[in-house]
């Protein structure tokens, strides 16, 4: 690894805490993100990718709690910091964009003010300075006539515009890491590309690393250098993005890649049904024994049902967690 690690997640475990029970919703998750690197975390809904993101932000709320492992920012453990100190990292060092731009903004507050709060909080600016900076921030995310738009309320903006406001808020104080949790899922397809390009461009200009969380392997592979695939609370494969497409090692990843529609394939091969992965993601309290993917896996044998596969290193700093990987 050439770049020093900006974020290092090591053996992270997140528990779902009940009255008397603790179920590991996320277990043994490790990955590193270098300075300015773009890293993707892919998986179906419920696989634990969003709570992994929230745990990095220190925003897990009851009944979820970190149950073990470490999260290091520039080598310093942050998962055990007192709330007051991890709060100082939020917005300044690590910022986050959420999935629903409709509900993620305060409906009763003008968007300009919601951006300006960042400058007041982290740079000690006065409200009038902060408002002037908010106009600039809106201009940066290419909202037309930002002088007027700052006074708008969220409901007066389109979904794409609202997500631009979210990006403006997240990048306001030049964070080192941007955590983007399904930032384009709620948007029209045509707007998705615009938002992704904007994020990538602004982050590249500021040297901000991106942790992109999505169920959309295509999107993630498109903008991320490295990709980790999560299934049922575990990272099952991690590789360079193009390698994941060219040579997916885990049966689950292969299923994901096969389920992507390919533009023009219908013309070349005729009408074909898209491949799908049979079954559904198991519930947290009912993770199967052995390999967690075994009930849905076509290659599963006796060992898969008994023994949890260890992470096998792959060439090029990747890993796969499967007894029968290629």
């Amino acid at each position: 690894m050439t770049a020093p690690a900006l974020l290092e997640v090591e053996n992270l475990r997140i528990d779902l805490v009940g009255e008397e029970t603790r179920h590991a919703a996320v277990e043994g998750v490790s990955f590193r993100i270098g300075k300015g690197e773009t890293f993707g975390l892919v998986g179906e809904s419920g696989c634990g990718k969003s709570i992994t993101a929230l745990s990095i932000m220190g925003l897990l709320r009851h009944p979820l709690a970190i149950g073990g492992g470490a999260i290091r920012l520039e080598g310093k453990e942050i998962q055990s910091l007192p709330p007051g100190q991890i709060r100082r990292l939020r917005g300044r060092k690590i910022a986050m964009i959420f999935q629903e731009p409709m509900t993620a903004l305060n409906p009763l507050s003008p968007v300009g003010r919601q951006i300006a709060e960042m400058f007041v909080l982290h740079q000690g600016a006065s409200w009038s300075e902060a408002n002037a900076k908010a106009v600039e921030a809106l201009r940066q995310v290419r909202v037309p006539s930002p002088e007027r738009r700052v006074k708008d309320f969220p409901h007066q903006l389109s979904g794409g515009m609202r997500q631009r406001v979210m990006i403006a808020i997240a990048l306001a104080c030049g964070p080192d890491l941007l955590v983007a949790d399904e930032p384009t899922t709620a948007l029209d397809v045509t707007v998705q590309a615009e938002i992704v390009d904007l994020m990538r461009e602004l982050c590249a200009a500021n040297g901000t690393a991106i942790l992109m969380i999505s169920h959309d392997l295509g999107l993630v592979a498109n903008i991320c250098r490295r990709v980790a695939v999560m299934y049922a609370g575990r990272v099952v494969e991690e590789q360079a993005a193009d390698e994941v497409f060219r040579h997916p090692r885990h049966p689950y990843t292969r299923g994901l890649v096969a389920s992507l529609p390919l533009l023009g394939s219908r013309a070349a091969h005729g009408r074909r049904k898209l491949a799908e992965i049979a079954g559904t993601v198991p519930a947290i309290a009912a993770y199967p024994k052995g390999c967690r993917f075994n009930p849905r896996c076509g290659l599963a044998t006796e060992i898969c049902r008994v023994e949890d596969p260890a992470a096998t290193p792959l060439p090029g700093d990747g890993l796969v967690r499967c007894h029968h990987h290629d």
Binding site: R87, R88, G91, F98, N106, L108, L121, F153
Partner: protein, 309 residues
């Protein structure tokens, strides 16, 4: 904004018309009449009764009486009391201020105690404060007003002797406290509960998570993003409670011999003093409509998403 206020006031006109119609018909068809139901159970001489009925116009057909009533009402004339022959408007005017004072004081108490109580409870759910305030809220809702009033009288007037037990006195605050608390406890309890629920609701909203992700302290999260949003929810309860409080005051006014519209209404019903009854109810209804209009306007000021077409 002025246009909006005018439009909201205009919208209340059909309600007022309906209320006038209902009150008038109701008190024309219920059994018993002024001439036959005296306080002392007196039976009037048939001739006297006849003369009184004629004088008060009670023998005219219903539609004709209604016509006269509406025409007079349009000119701000609520008729004359059967009993004292004084204009109803004058009688009500004397009672209006004490009534308003009691309602405002009770609502002030309810808001000043209930809203902060609900807020504190919501910010520390499961804590001692939370449980204590919810016990207060539930008991406040279930205690009958007249019983609570009696207990307050017993404790603060008879036993401790801090406050006068009943009456209007010189109209000062000392006489106001006990009836206002007796009247205000149930809206206070309801407000505490709705505030708690509202704040908890807002605290779970996505935008509060966004606010936290910005690196804000919990205090700022609440100040900048929770209070206003919770207020929208609380406002509905305030409006409904406030509006109906003047009607609810009937029991408390009777108990504390408070010279408000409520006690006037009860007395007039017993005496079948129909013009006064109609006038009092009309004023109570108008007050309800006024408060609701004010609340609607407050919504528009607080919440930019709300526009009345």
């Amino acid at each position: 904004m002025p246009l909006l206020i005018l439009r909201r006031l205009g919208n209340t006109i059909p309600t007022i018309v309906a209320v006038v119609l209902v009150i008038f018909t109701l008190f024309s068809v219920i059994p018993g009449s002024f001439t036959s139901s005296g306080d002392d159970g007196r039976m009037l001489d048939a001739q006297v009764m006849e003369r009184m009925r004629k004088e008060l116009g009670l023998d005219d057909p219903l539609h004709q009486r209604f016509g006269t009533y509406v025409v007079n009402l349009a000119q701000g004339d609520l008729g004359n009391s059967f009993r004292t022959r004084e204009p109803v408007t004058k009688i009500i005017a004397q009672r209006l201020w004490p009534s308003l004072k009691l309602t405002l004081a009770a609502m002030g108490f309810a808001i000043l105690v209930g809203v902060p109580l609900g807020f504190i409870a919501a910010l520390k759910p499961g804590s001692l404060v939370d449980m204590a305030s919810m016990v207060v809220a539930i008991s406040g809702l279930s205690l009958p007003k007249f019983w609570l009033g009696l207990m307050l009288m017993y404790l603060f007037a008879l036993t401790l002797g801090w406050l006068p037990s009943f009456g209007y006195g010189d109209g000062g605050i000392r006489h106001l406290i006990l009836p206002a608390v007796a009247l205000g406890v149930s809206p206070m309890a309801l407000l505490a509960r709705t505030t708690r629920a509202g704040v908890l609701d807002v605290l779970n909203a996505d935008f509060v998570r966004t606010a936290r992700s910005k690196g804000m302290s919990e205090y700022r999260v609440v100040r900048w993003h929770v209070v206003r949003n919770a207020l929208v929810l609380v406002l509905t309860t305030i409006g409904l409670q406030f509006g109906s409080l003047m009607g609810q005051a009937v029991v408390v006014e009777k108990l504390f011999s408070w010279p408000g519209l409520g006690s006037l209404l009860v007395d007039s019903v017993f005496q079948r003093d129909i013009p006064v009854v109609q006038g009092s109810i009309l004023v109570i209804v108008l007050f309800f409509l006024l408060i609701n209009t004010l609340v609607d306007i407050a919504y528009v000021i607080i919440d930019p998403r709300i526009r009345y077409g």
